[in-house]
Symmetry: C2
Subunit: 351 residues, 2 copies
């Protein structure tokens, strides 16, 4: 396999290096080969060539079987104009590779059930997959801008979806639910928004091909509440780009430890997916070997499962991470003393 790595900014390079070693360990053990090649994105790319998502990176990604991304951004580039910000590179990457489905599992591991600010009895056993649409909605809708209207400034973005966009993300959610608890909760604001009314109509139509999956609907305000009130009621949640941005971050708090949460962004099966931790680049601890690489390592497991069709490799990594936690090995964010590099080695040892 040929895999592009995008170490990005802050702690990115450290956690990527630990993850690559784990991938090599599992490849050696299971008898296959992966070649890794770095490319630039985010702040690192801005520094090198004044573009947060260089064409060269896109080109290399397109020729890859899959992509691992660590983390991007930092105060250094925060004051830049919008087109020169690291986040803009991220959005451009998603759009140009057609990565329309963002999969964010929120799985509470028994070893870490107390890491959440929610009561352990509320979160223990939680296993939610948030499926967020990633290339549409108010993120990319046109027209948009800041203009003058009736003598004052006016800012606007178009919150919109077309039928085909809703249909393909609904299919992803139903397909995933089939392999899990067979329940999908679609989240919208159909009592107020036309775009949500279309969303709901198309989800209901798409559901006709999945009679074995149970479908329910929830308004986004209620979903924000239910995630805290009784998170165990959810199996798969599917929602649009902006609601998904908010709800998936909220759901991560059920797990508590951001350092443990992977994600996958996938699209056209013939192209590569991008696998990355949900946490940021933590510039404050960059270069100090204090970062927790497990979220990136678990993202690599998702890569093996969803992109490279190597479920045994995914399982081997997840088992090793579980063993590490069982053995009480913890980085600083989880109250332990182990550094980033050593954490990577501890996982490798258990592969």
């Amino acid at each position: 396999y040929f895999v592009t790595t995008l170490p990005g900014d802050g702690i990115g390079p450290e956690i990527m290096s630990a993850t690559v070693k784990v991938c090599q360990a599992v490849a050696a053990k299971q008898g296959f080969k992966i070649e890794f090649k770095e490319a630039l994105i985010g702040g690192a790319a801005l520094d090198a060539c004044n573009d947060p998502f260089p064409d060269e990176t896109l080109k290399q990604m397109k020729s890859s079987d899959s992509v691992l991304l660590a983390a991007i951004g930092g105060p250094k580039w925060d004051a830049n104009p919008r087109d020169k910000r690291p986040e803009t590179g991220l959005l451009k990457m998603r759009k140009s590779l057609g990565l329309f489905a963002n999969l964010r599992p929120a799985t509470v591991l028994p070893q870490l059930a107390d890491a959440s600010t929610l009561k352990p009895e509320v979160v223990s056993g939680v296993d939610i997959m948030v499926v967020r649409e990633l290339t549409g909605d108010v993120y990319f809708g046109e027209p948009k801008g800041i203009t003058t209207k009736d003598g004052e400034r006016f800012g606007y973005n178009n919150m919109c979806y077309k039928e085909s966009e809703v249909k393909r993300i609904a299919k992803v959610a139903f397909d995933i639910a089939r392999k899990r608890g067979k329940r999908v909760c679609s989240v919208d604001k159909a009592n107020v928004l036309d775009v949500s009314q279309l969303w709901r109509d198309v989800v209901i139509e798409t559901h006709k091909d999945y009679p074995d999956v149970e479908l329910s609907h929830m308004y986004v305000d209620n979903a924000a509440m239910q995630l805290i009130r009784n998170p165990k009621q959810f199996d798969v949640m599917v929602t649009g780009n902006i609601f998904g941005d908010i709800l998936s971050d909220e759901a991560s708090m059920l797990v508590g430890s951001l350092g443990m949460l992977p994600s996958a962004s996938v699209g056209d099966p013939s192209g590569p997916g991008v696998f990355e931790p949900i946490h940021g680049s933590a510039p404050d601890i960059a270069g100090t070997d204090k970062a927790n690489p497990l979220a990136t390592i678990l993202s690599a497991a998702m890569m093996f499962r969803y992109d490279l069709d190597r479920p045994e490799a995914a399982q081997a990594i997840e088992d090793a991470v579980n063993k590490v936690l069982d053995d009480g090995v913890r980085t600083g964010d989880l109250g332990g003393k182990v550094g980033c590099k050593q954490m990577g080695e501890e996982v490798c040892k258990r592969i």
Copy 2:
């Protein structure tokens, strides 16, 4: 004072009746007079005249000093077309009375610190005021609709704000912060949305007149996370209509008991505000005397404070509610046995 009551649907009439008695008790005690007059809204109005917000109701509200609203909606009207739904009446009411500011306190009472699904040490002492813009944003933006584009359905709403709308809600937030902890956190998605960029710019400009108030900014996804991770960091949060809809419902979970949470919707100081509990109409327990009237009673306290300029009346009600809780009096939702009517009487007794 002349106050319109909108009992609405489900448990609405019961909790309104308990609340009116509490208001009368405080008026008698403190030597002023209130006249209450009912009007129709929501399902009740649909049943009576096929309009969720009749002109007559608007007219009566306009001639009132203030308005108490109990709860609207129910399965009976859920399948109606959008213009015949109870929620549509609510939105029309907000817009036609110019109620642009929705104030939602999330205050954790020590007596109920364990009602939340969050750990008591995380929520005890939480005292947040969410200030939500209520008459703009994607709720009311034009153009909007469902149309056909390139041979498929396309749904769209305009997420938009004009400068003056942002400025007036920012002022409300800064003014409230002055009377509280003097800190405002403005929530937006300025790293992606133009409308949020304008929002942030105008909030920063408006802040120049409030050098004594501390201003910070947070992206909405991070805010959804921080509310769970460390809610005590917040004093006043100000945000747009849709983000506020989501975040204020999420914040209510810090308190845990929906039956305790009041809200105020205010606008032009010369017109009446509308005061209502945040919970719904609970059709399943309607008419059984099981509802908790405290959220509506606390909304009446907000009415005295923000609309009728009777802070001593507000304080008297809040003190009485506190005493009721101290004395262990609880409705069913809080594990007690007291009915709606009796709960109202218990509060009256302690005025």
